[in-house]
């Protein structure tokens, strides 16, 4: 860590328990590497949970299916331990980057906090762990940015992304259901606020919260390619050159499925799909090695070169 970064870190002193999730360790490493670097530039140290486990992947809606919430709650126990051991800033919260992990753990947490019997049963099952007290807050990285303020995000910009026309894409997992939403579920603005702070031209399209097709991508590529075509097509028509998101599954469906889209529609023009943190890291002027565009399906390099945004 350079001296400058150390200095920024002592200024805010934010050390926050951070849950990566499996996708950020496999197919979305570019999301994690860019986010950790971007957060550091803002004086936030994302401290990875020790011995974390999968979030549970999907929030189970069945009333009697408690076992599928165990995974989430076990992670929240890790956060309790980190706070007690003084490894983090003591705010009893956990931040996620992946929208899906956020949604699953946020809702599991809400459920057990509202239901004393659930929490007791889960604690009984996990008798080798300390009891979960129900006090941890699950937050998404975008909420954290809002908390520290977009002014601060703006001040961290070294090279603004002026001229780059980006459409924010929210997907469902950070907006629905309402009680898990990080923003107005019908008219979200938070991604746009971040993009504006970075200096991009924000392109708002009515398709910015239309479902990407989610896990249908596993067995019905065509259905998902159809949705991607609509979402990307509307963004293009509205003047966007790229998409920004925070969900690895949305990113996969909008980015990788462009292969199927292009096969079906020969006139389709590919569009880069960024994690918002890649654009942050770019604007904050951190080492561009963290951008890891090798994991993006549609290569964003030509677009960024066009706007003279790359070091080399």
């Amino acid at each position: 860590m350079s001296d400058a970064k150390d200095f920024a870190f002592t200024l805010t002193g934010l050390r926050i328990p951070y849950f990566p999730g499996c996708t950020l360790k496999t197919t979305a490493q570019n999301f994690e590497s860019s986010a950790v670097a971007a957060a550091r530039a803002l004086g936030i140290e994302l401290v990875e949970l020790p011995r974390w486990n999968c979030c549970g992947t999907v929030f189970s809606l069945a009333a009697d299916d408690l076992i599928h919430h165990v995974a989430s709650i076990r992670n929240l126990i890790r956060v309790q331990e980190m706070n007690r051991q003084g490894l983090v800033d003591g705010e009893n919260r956990m931040v996620t980057l992946c929208s899906m992990c956020y949604n699953t753990m946020k809702r599991a947490n809400l459920r057990v906090r509202q239901n004393a019997e659930d929490i007791k049963k889960i604690n009984d099952l996990m008798y080798r762990e300390e009891d979960y007290q129900g006090n941890v807050r699950v937050i998404h990285f975008l909420e954290l940015l809002r908390e520290i303020g977009m002014g601060k995000v703006k001040r961290a910009v070294k090279k603004d992304l002026a001229g780059l026309k980006v459409a924010p894409y929210y997907g469902c997992m950070i907006l629905r259901p309402k009680e898990a939403s990080i923003d107005d579920p019908e008219a979200p603005t938070v991604l746009g606020e971040v993009l504006r702070a970075l200096g991009t031209d924000v392109v708002v399209t009515p398709y910015n919260k239309v479902c990407c097709g989610s896990y249908q991508t596993v067995h019905d590529k065509d259905a998902v390619a159809g949705l991607a075509y609509d979402i990307l097509g509307h963004a293009r028509k509205s003047g966007a050159e790229a998409i920004a998101t925070t969900c690895p599954l949305c990113a996969f469906n909008l980015d990788n499925r462009q292969k199927e889209v292009a096969e079906k529609h020969p006139d389709f023009e590919h569009m880069p799909v960024f994690y918002i943190t890649q654009l942050m890291a770019l604007a904050f002027g951190v080492d561009q090695g963290v951008l890891r565009f090798d994991q993006n399906y549609v290569d964003p390099v030509p677009l960024l070169k066009k706007h003279s945004l790359l070091d080399k």
Binding site: C22, K25, N53, T57, I67, V70, A71, R128
Partner: protein, 253 residues
Amino acid sequence: MEEIKNPVMDIIAEANRSATSGIDAKDIKDWITISIMGRAYKVPADLTILAAMEYAGYKFVRGVGCRQGFCGACATVFRKKGEYKLQTGMACGTRAEDGMHLAQIPFTPAEKASYDLTKEPYSASVLIKYYPEVARCVSCNTCTKACPQDLEVMDYVQAALRGDFELLATDSFDCIQCGLCALRCPSEIVQYHVAQLGRRLYGYYGLGVPEHLKKRVEEIEKGRYAKALDTVIAFSNDELRKQYVGRDIEPEQ
């Protein structure tokens, strides 16, 4: 040198003799009652579960091996008197207690994938391709509770899911493949097969060929051991046995 009259098979037979063989029942002071598959038996106290079952008349052909807690063949499940918890362990290393309910698990049925390591990428997707159940883990930790080796089984399954091969390999290294984790898993994961594939991938791609191995292979290829090997091949059976028994071995710990 003393005469050699203990060929390997005799040694094994000797080790396999029950601790109580040759001892008269009237000379045994302390007795316990255990229940084996629902039937009560009176057996001498302070035996392992394995020895106690043998005393009761069970003869193991499968489901037993080293009798030292190494081979993983003798998986056992039991409940102690008055306890609700179903416990697991190795029969050769767990003491039989009065009032125990016992059953042996001689084998865990499980499909083992066949693969060519050299044709697979070094990524979590390989583990999920051959053992897709891994993705069903609900993090209940039942596997960890079942493990007689005290491994953090759930942690290594989670490491598998996210492609952390180093953690998977090191956390599962002491696995004896008894199968108890897989039997207890509500998600029907076969943890020990996943771990074995993970260790193989880690060895092949993650660690690479170690320097000392390269050096030794070179020495062999240059014929450094050829003469010694020829000498051994030329030994008669008796001479070979004599050399074997008289060899330098690590002292027992």
